[in-house]
């Protein structure tokens, strides 16, 4: 029932189907038909490796549809907008064994492929009241919508896959401690001088027999020392989660099948902890107030003085103190460069970085992390950033605090003091530029350079030529010829049986 659209063809039969500027048949919507939910997950997984769903989200709908025979399949519909977007989706759909269609309301025809570069049009519309009528060169099928599947609930129901390598991953993480373990964990982290923030999350009781809500301690640690990582992974009652995108984190040792960073469905004001082993996720609709870990350090009180000494042990103010605050200055220094581990590449220099990417060794690409901001790209590499000779180099003088290489800070305060004076949270990485501005970049925004670097080229599917089997069988083809004027002449029924148990043929 499908016809290929010819060059310069203008009239189309399918309602809602038009031609875009390239002459490709395109409706307002694109629709993917997938035979099962695992193919849908595979599609999302493959698509989000390279592209974000952000531009699709306003129009994205997932439905379970049912054919007349009762078979259930999945559809994913979205605004088509352009043939470039549809081509991208078609490539992905072909990879996971789905079919892609385009249309506007009910009638959807197969989207263009190598056999029909301008797409397809149907020669005859299905006379049906079904919600969806799909026309493909292999089938024509009507479907009823059975139910909608919200993307968020699908992502929450997907069980993370085991990925033991994530235990050793560096970068920010959340530690969630069961009631009773929280104070001990906080004390341990404070004593070990680990930077972080802490909050207490409340979840409703698991059953009516519980006395009250379940309170768990949540610690956000920008960088956990490597020696502590195995301990946090193996201590019962403490679960480690890695941020997987705004508002969502995945348990250490697991990986979500879909790139959650590409799915902006989670509320950034809240937090969802996706847990492994098939357990229900922990959802916080609103992230509670987080306080600096150091505020929870153990305190000790001196013995109370017997009497306030009037003789001079207590200083008295004689007047209003004059302010001694001076602005921060960055001055050139002659001290040799040490620990140059970051660089800031302005937007004007980004084309150079792209050209340089071809010459970078694999090890550097693997170890470097990058955050793209409106002010340019910030690159960090713990082993040294000199291999990327671009931008303004920075030296790390304190965890998450960088100053330009070859410069010093005046007044010459301790790095820790400077860090606290700048008032940034541990979730941010601070860069003090030579112009004495302080730029804060979210630690979670740093992603591996190898992920950000490669722009995947659209691939061209090549059909393999089939090798003829040595024992190939010829197809059985029926050819009809005229039967003549009296085709039934001489056609007789079998002779009637003489007796009920008379032999019919041999062996009867």
């Amino acid at each position: 029932m499908l016809e290929r659209i010819a060059l310069h063809q203008t009239r189309l039969r399918t309602p809602g189907l038009g031609l875009d500027a390239k002459g490709v048949a395109l409706g307002a919507k694109g629709l993917l038909l997938l035979p099962s939910i695992d193919r849908l997950v595979a599609l999302l997984s493959v698509y989000t490796q390279e592209h974000s769903l952000e531009d699709l989200m306003p129009s994205l709908e997932i439905h379970v549809v049912r054919s007349k025979l009762g078979t259930r399949e999945m559809t994913l519909s979205f605004a088509a907008e352009s043939s470039d977007r549809m081509d991208r989706m078609a490539d992905t759909a072909r990879l996971v064994g789905g079919f892609i269609f385009t249309g506007t309301s009910r009638h959807f025809v197969q989207y263009r492929d190598a056999a029909a570069p301008f797409g397809y049009d149907t020669s005859q519309l299905l006379a049906t009241d079904a919600a969806l009528s799909l026309y493909h060169d292999r089938f024509t099928q009507a479907y009823e919508l059975e139910r909608a599947v919200p993307l968020l609930s699908l992502l929450l129901r997907l069980m993370p896959q085991v990925e033991p390598a994530t235990y050793a991953t560096a970068g920010p993480r959340y530690l969630v401690a069961e009631p009773g373990l929280g104070p001990a964990l906080i004390h341990y982290l404070v004593r070990s001088r680990v930077e972080g923030e802490v909050a207490v999350g409340e979840w409703p009781p698991a059953s009516a027999f519980d006395e009250g809500p379940i309170r768990r301690t949540i610690v956000r640690v920008p960088e956990l020392p490597p020696r502590m990582r195995p301990l946090m992974g193996s201590t019962p009652g403490i679960v480690t989660f890695f941020p997987a995108g705004p508002g969502v984190a995945v348990e250490a040792g697991y990986r979500h099948p879909v790139q959650l960073r590409a799915c902006p469905v989670f509320d950034p004001q809240g937090l969802v902890f996706l847990r492994g082993k098939g357990e229900e996720p922990w959802v916080l609709p609103r992230l509670p107030l987080m306080g600096d870990l150091r505020a929870f350090a153990r305190i000790e009180l001196r013995t109370e003085p017997k009497e306030a000494d009037e003789s001079g042990a207590v200083a008295r103010a004689l007047g209003h103190p004059e302010s001694v605050r001076v602005p921060l200055r960055i001055v050139a220094s002659t001290t040799p460069w040490r620990s140059v581990t970051a660089t800031w590449i302005t937007p004007q220099e980004l084309p150079l970085l792209r050209r340089l990417a071809y010459a970078l060794p694999r090890e550097i690409i693997q170890k470097t992390r990058v955050a793209i901001t409106a002010r340019g790209a910030f690159l960090r590499c713990a082993d040294g950033i000199e291999a990327i000779p671009l931008g303004t180099f920075f030296v790390e003088i304190h965890p998450h605090l960088y100053i330009p290489a070859g410069y010093d800070v005046t007044p010459a305060v301790a790095p820790d003091v400077l860090y606290r004076a700048l008032g940034a949270s541990p979730a941010h990485v601070l860069f003090v530029t030579p112009r004495e501005e302080a730029l804060a970049v979210e630690a979670s925004a740093f992603a591996p350079l190898e992920v950000a670097l490669l722009e995947a080229k659209p691939w061209e599917p090549l059909a393999s030529e089939s090798i003829e089997a040595a024992l190939a069988e010829t197809p059985v083809e029926l050819h009809l010829s005229p039967l003549g004027t009296f085709p039934m002449r001489g056609v007789e029924s079998p002779e009637p049986l003489a007796a009920p148990d008379a032999p019919e043929t041999k062996g009867s």
Partner: protein, 393 residues
């Protein structure tokens, strides 16, 4: 009326219908044969074209050797000649030449004669006979008719199984000629291009089902066909009830996709539970048990777990569950011959299937007949995939 020359009819039937059905190529059915001639065709019949006959015999042996190591097969028997003639007439009942104002319901009459003739043909008495019939008709569902619809600016015409007339395709641009080609499989032969005709597709499917009852191995080897849907017939149950027949069927089914086979067998077996046909159900379960035990051995070897029961694929889940129950019974009888580790692994694989909701329901329905199981399964005496039973039963 001039008497029918059976020799000419048989020669034409062999060369134009039976041989291409086995070897592949163009099947060109001729005038309808009728029941009386069909039953008499094979008596003392020898094919004149010896070369063609030798090729056909080689191709039949090739079909048979997919299931069992045999080196020769007998020539076509009287029943096989008659069955071929009946299939020929069933195919011709869809011929557009039998329709028309003065045809007098010729298509329906021809179908009725063919069905009456099929009922007169004896059922296969041995597994060898079932295999021999299968070698003739194994490719019957590969029959394809290429239809062409030619439309031009004031009309259109459909050519069924024949090339379109050349004059209709002249001046294609001026006359706006459009040619549409489509293929019709055996069960779709009553279709007339995009239109329907007087011949009921469902009735034609039922006729094919009646034909398949005469060649049960073909019936079971094409179990996942789209139409006619597989249903247990007495001949198929008799074939499966023998150890050798069950081995042949299991070998054929193992080569097909397991979900499709399970769905087809489950769909056919569930009505036996509803009809409380326990003897037939247990016979069908023996085959399912054979298949499930083989799947379990393969899964245990690869460390896989059984597929979960699904409401959306209830037929396949039923087949797997019934097979697991039967496999458990068999292991209770013959499991002592297995190494204990293998037996424990198989039992662990079968347990979730047997103890799931579907397994509990089926066990409950079978419980009044459970005391028959040991003797029934002991008589059946089936075992795993390594059976080397001879077909000479």
């Amino acid at each position: 009326m001039a008497p029918v020359d059976l020799g000419t009819v048989a020669e034409r039937l062999f060369v134009d219908f039976m041989a291409p059905l086995v070897l592949g190529g163009d099947v060109r059915p001729g005038r309808p044969i009728g029941g009386r001639a069909a039953l008499a065709l094979g008596q003392d019949r020898t094919v004149a074209d010896a070369d063609r006959h030798a090729h056909v015999q080689l191709a039949r042996i090739r079909v048979a050797r997919r299931l069992v190591p045999v080196d020769r097969l007998p020539d076509a028997t009287v029943e096989e000649w008659a069955l071929a003639a009946c299939l020929h007439d069933l195919v011709q009942s869809t011929h557009p030449g039998l329709e028309g104002l003065f045809s007098g319901g010729a298509a329906e009459k021809l179908t009725a004669i063919a069905l009456e003739t099929i009922r007169r043909i004896a059922k296969p008495r041995t597994v060898g006979e079932a295999l021999s019939r299968h070698t003739w008709f194994a490719r019957m569902f590969e029959i394809v008719r290429r239809d062409t619809t030619v439309s031009w600016w004031i009309g259109s015409r459909t050519f069924l199984g024949t090339p379109p007339a050349p004059h209709l395709m002249t001046w294609p641009d001026l006359r706006r000629v459009r040619i549409k080609k489509m293929e019709s499989a055996l069960a779709d032969l009553p279709a007339r291009g995009e239109q329907d005709n007087g011949i009921d597709k469902l009735a034609f499917s039922r006729s094919l089902a009646v034909f398949l009852h005469q060649t049960p191995l073909t019936d079971l080897c094409t179990v996942h066909r789209a139409a006619p849907l597989f249903a247990w017939s007495p001949a198929a149950l008799e074939l499966v009830a023998t150890r050798a027949g069950r081995t042949l069927v299991a070998r054929a089914l193992r080569a097909m996709p397991e979900p499709l086979v399970s769905a087809a067998l489950g769909r056919a077996t569930r009505p036996l539970v509803a009809a409380e046909a326990w003897r037939e159900l247990l016979t069908a379960m023996m085959l399912l048990g054979h298949l499930t035990l083989t799947s379990a051995q393969r899964a245990v070897l690869h460390g896989e777990s059984p597929p979960p029961a699904s409401h959306e694929d209830i037929d396949a889940s039923f087949a797997r569950t019934a097979g697991a129950l039967a496999a458990r019974e068999q292991m209770a009888l013959e499991g002592h011959t297995m190494p204990s580790a293998e037996r424990a692994a198989l039992e662990a694989y079968l347990r979730p299937l047997c103890e799931g909701p579907l397994g509990r329901d089926l066990s409950g329905a079978l419980s009044p007949y459970r005391h028959f199981f040991p003797s029934f399964f002991a008589n059946a005496a089936f075992s795993g995939a390594s059976s080397k039973t001879s077909i000479l039963e």
